[in-house]
Amino acid sequence: MTPPPPPPASVAAMIRPMPAPADSRANRDILAVMGRPTIGYVALLALVVSTVGWALGTFVYQTYVGLGVAGYSHPIFWGVYIVTFVFWVGIAHAGTLISAILYLFRAKWRNAINRSAEAMTVFAVATAGLFPLIHLGRVFKFYWLLPYPNQRALWVNFKSPLLWDVFAISTYATISIVFFYVGLVPDLAIARDRATGWRKVLYSILALGWQGTTKQWKAHNRTVLHLSGLATPLVLSVHSVVSWDFASSIVPGWHATIFAPYFVAGAIFSGFAMVLTVMIPVRRIYGLERYITDYHFENMSRFILLTSLIVGYAYATEYFVAWYSGVEPERTAFWLRAFGSYWISTWIMISCNAFFPQVFWFKRARTHIPTVFVVSVLVNIGMWFERYVIIVGSLSREYNPAVWGQYTPSWVELSILAGSFAWFSMFFLIFLKLFPVIAINEVKELEIHERAHANGGAH
């Protein structure tokens, strides 16, 4: 049966260099985002970098002078920094939700947005992680939070929710970086094969010599599956732990068992809103409509509607429990929440989080991109105020009239708040130019399959 071996001369004749690569459209379109920056991009980057610089200077000033320059005064010692910490931790939840939970549910529509959402998770955690440190009077002692052997033979108190926070946030930061990077490796190989100059060097190092062999893909699939399985309970635990910072105290308005699910829903809510706020302009500026379609935005709007209902329900439950418990300080706290000195924040919170997103009941609103964008911005504002209401409002009226007080954010705190948005935007802008903004290999997987069907393929 076997044909006779060909003469060596014919084998030699078959050796020829491979022809020039035919590139795919997905590669070209998505890698094009990393092309030469426009004037607008450079101007925006300059703006955010200078804002970060301003905030950094303010922080140095605060560290030098002391926390008195923040608006902290008796009895309120948790202010904008803690509010902003909780806010950014919340934003960080969308990436893992999209990447891990929707992966486990095999929701294919996540492919277009998972990369950017994962990136936002990493940057939001990087932003959030700064705030407990900014909030420290002696920031240079932050390492006291870690259990390390020391001369005093002291260990940290593992019974404190603040220490659970240290473990939860640092685990979350590490795992979201790992998740982001693992997903990125095959796309870095795509970039490596097409780049020149310093980018070629950078991507060659970061891509680790990935070649897309079957064995590598199989290991990669397994890795993503396991990381998703690990990250799903993790993402639910992180904001639960953050909520226990409050719920395990006895402050009126904080001491509630509903806090963990309430915070997790709020985190997903704000995270999706942030993904929309960022990706709607990015899609338009870089012409990615072919990959990120209105269908994706509509699905995310549905998520916002769902989590808005959960958050609204939690607001109502808090009021009901305050009334039904018959505990006078609880009742007072919730009365003051709506009609006390922080009433504006409360009504911003209720209207932005529970009321405006109801517009997404209508398909016309979910598919009208300007509406989606406006609602997503409102949700971001509302969720920041939610944390402000919970933290500052509750601390201003505790049980004893001796610990009643008022709090107004100082210019130092507001500068650092602005700096946090700039810090996040700075990372995201750099990410746009350095890494593929959409998971190219996942887009291709769908496209090649679709082509097989179009050609009447066998599968």
Partner: protein
């Protein structure tokens, strides 16, 4: 030994070709694809990826380390509250949980590197940027006398071209 590279457009025919080649006793096969495809996963090796053991060992290390660290530290520097035991398991479960995830996840990453033989400095001679575009490459190392047979088999299964590379 000559190395033949068949270039394909679709994963289905690749999987079929691999089955045929393995049926005829060719063992030195390598497959490059632009994205993961379920039909190719088990084409060369049916066993599940060994990454799963890394996750398991990492996770178990994490949970053990979490409980061991917190309990040992509680006894090393006791905080005496009433007549209660020094170590309280419910809050320590949170630390143990976080460390399970942390070490499990990091071990999974190491597993990916170990199983995928990463990082590697030099690309395979048969690798081409075409495989990070949209094409599939099936690499067959075979004896010189088999070149014509493999070439015919690849072309018969919708390989749009077959190249010979040294190495």
């Amino acid at each position: 030994m000559p190395t033949l590279v068949g270039i394909f457009d679709q994963p289905g025919p690749v999987a079929e070709t691999v089955r045929r080649l393995r049926g005829r006793g060719f063992r030195e096969l390598q497959l490059y694809s632009p994205a993961p495809f379920p039909e190719l996963d088990d084409a060369l090796d049916e066993r599940p990826s060994r990454v799963r053991w890394w996750t398991l060992i990492g996770g178990l290390t994490g949970v053990t380390a979490g409980y061991a660290m917190t309990i040992w530290m509680s006894y090393d520097w006791p905080l005496v509250v009433g007549g209660k035991p020094y170590a309280s398991i419910p809050p320590y479960t949170i630390i143990a949980f976080e460390l399970t995830i942390l070490l499990g996840g990091l071990a999974t990453l190491l597993g990916l590197l170990a199983v995928g033989k990463l990082p590697r400095v030099k690309a395979d001679p048969a690798y081409s940027p075409r495989f990070s575009a949209e094409e599939f490459g099936l690499v067959v190392r075979c004896g010189e006398r088999d070149v014509a047979e493999v070439d015919a088999l690849l072309r018969a299964h919708a390989a749009k071209e077959v190249n010979l590379v040294e190495g």
